[in-house]
Subunit: 254 residues, 2 copies
Amino acid sequence: MPDDPGNFPEPGFLLRSWPLGRHPAEVSVPSSVGEPRKSYDVPVEVPGRVPPEGPRAEEEARLREIPRVIGQLGKTYIVCETEEGLLLVDQHAAHERVVYEKLRRSMEAHRPEVQQLLMPLELELNHRDAGAVMALQEELASLGIEIEHFGGNTFLVRAVPALLGQVDWETFLSELLPEIRMKGMSQGELLDRALKVMACHGAVRAGKHMSMQEMEGLLEELAAADLPQNCPHGRPVTKMIRYREIEKFFKRIV
Amino acid sequence: MPDDPGNFPEPGFLLRSWPLGRHPAEVSVPSSVGEPRKSYDVPVEVPGRVPPEGPRAEEEARLREIPRVIGQLGKTYIVCETEEGLLLVDQHAAHERVVYEKLRRSMEAHRPEVQQLLMPLELELNHRDAGAVMALQEELASLGIEIEHFGGNTFLVRAVPALLGQVDWETFLSELLPEIRMKGMSQGELLDRALKVMACHGAVRAGKHMSMQEMEGLLEELAAADLPQNCPHGRPVTKMIRYREIEKFFKRIV
């Protein structure tokens, strides 16, 4: 588990745990401030995926470029410069997208990256959640969460998905359990709902300071994502304010 | 004359040449990156000036706060963070406003800050400009521009306004002369037109890299200006993109 006390792993952590078994150097190289931007030229192929066309294709192509990071706004947005203008990136939505795709690939490869805990984590659950955990022990294990009944409403977490560094496990389970105990869902739906909750908890939160290096690393990972435009819940990840708009406002052009 | 080869004087140059005879320390102190923002608490009193009311007063009050500089966008805009949101500042318009007010005060105090040149600057003018310079020698001197006829269309510039560091004098005169040779203008109108041309040429241009220190220094000076909202030609100096707008776009609020 990373030493960082926050919920954002140290730079490179996500790359090191890249689930497809590629060496990080093949996937991405850290960019430096002020260097010319470069495009991400190792697109990740998804079997059966049809590339979008028209404006959506343009938007995607733009997101494959790694913009220059200017800095952080309100501890929530990454402010970037591109050839077209000012790009705002919602840090949580972007990271959620990145973590979600990594988790999904990891699950699809049937080898979720699991982190065995040296000291098991003791959890005291309410009656309802305790019942759900006992009923769903197998499903939880398939998600990389190894949890054991200790007696009463007490449980021991023995292993966690490697991508979920330091989540608040009680809050996490209280959101995860209602999603996966719904009846009538296919295995695929159940997995997808669980991954969304996991991605949300594993992603850097709004209100957290990010270093230039962390922001640059996140944008590189976002550029490599399959669907960088939206977070798994469908919220937008980026907002472009074009030079044309800005120039019009400042009456630099009419 | 400053040693800086560009047309933006080194940090503090404008403050050192502050025409009201105050010590720079009384006027402003340099801010550092990451320090909490502070308000500019030495407002410059203009005799007879009525403070605005309503939304304009609010906008002015906002401009008296010195925002945190995030960085520079497209070598043209200063990107800042305020409590309300993202503030874009047009670097040229902002500096033009600052230089214009300094020049105007300097003129009104009847002691324009003049820089004697060690080596006079030789200018070869076209016939029309040469005639205008000869006719307007006195007006030019009152603006701090001491220019002497050398023979034919050749002139020597012997002294320049201290605030106009390294302007391109031929371009500058070709813009200034038509402004001040118009008939039927009052002395006040003539002066104001001349000051606007001077401010434009003395201000940092779009497309010029500015350091964090230069951007912070400029915002401090802008906060101290009488009319920080607009450049002398009436173009806007700042554009605020409120957190509310940004949050709505990213669906953080509905």
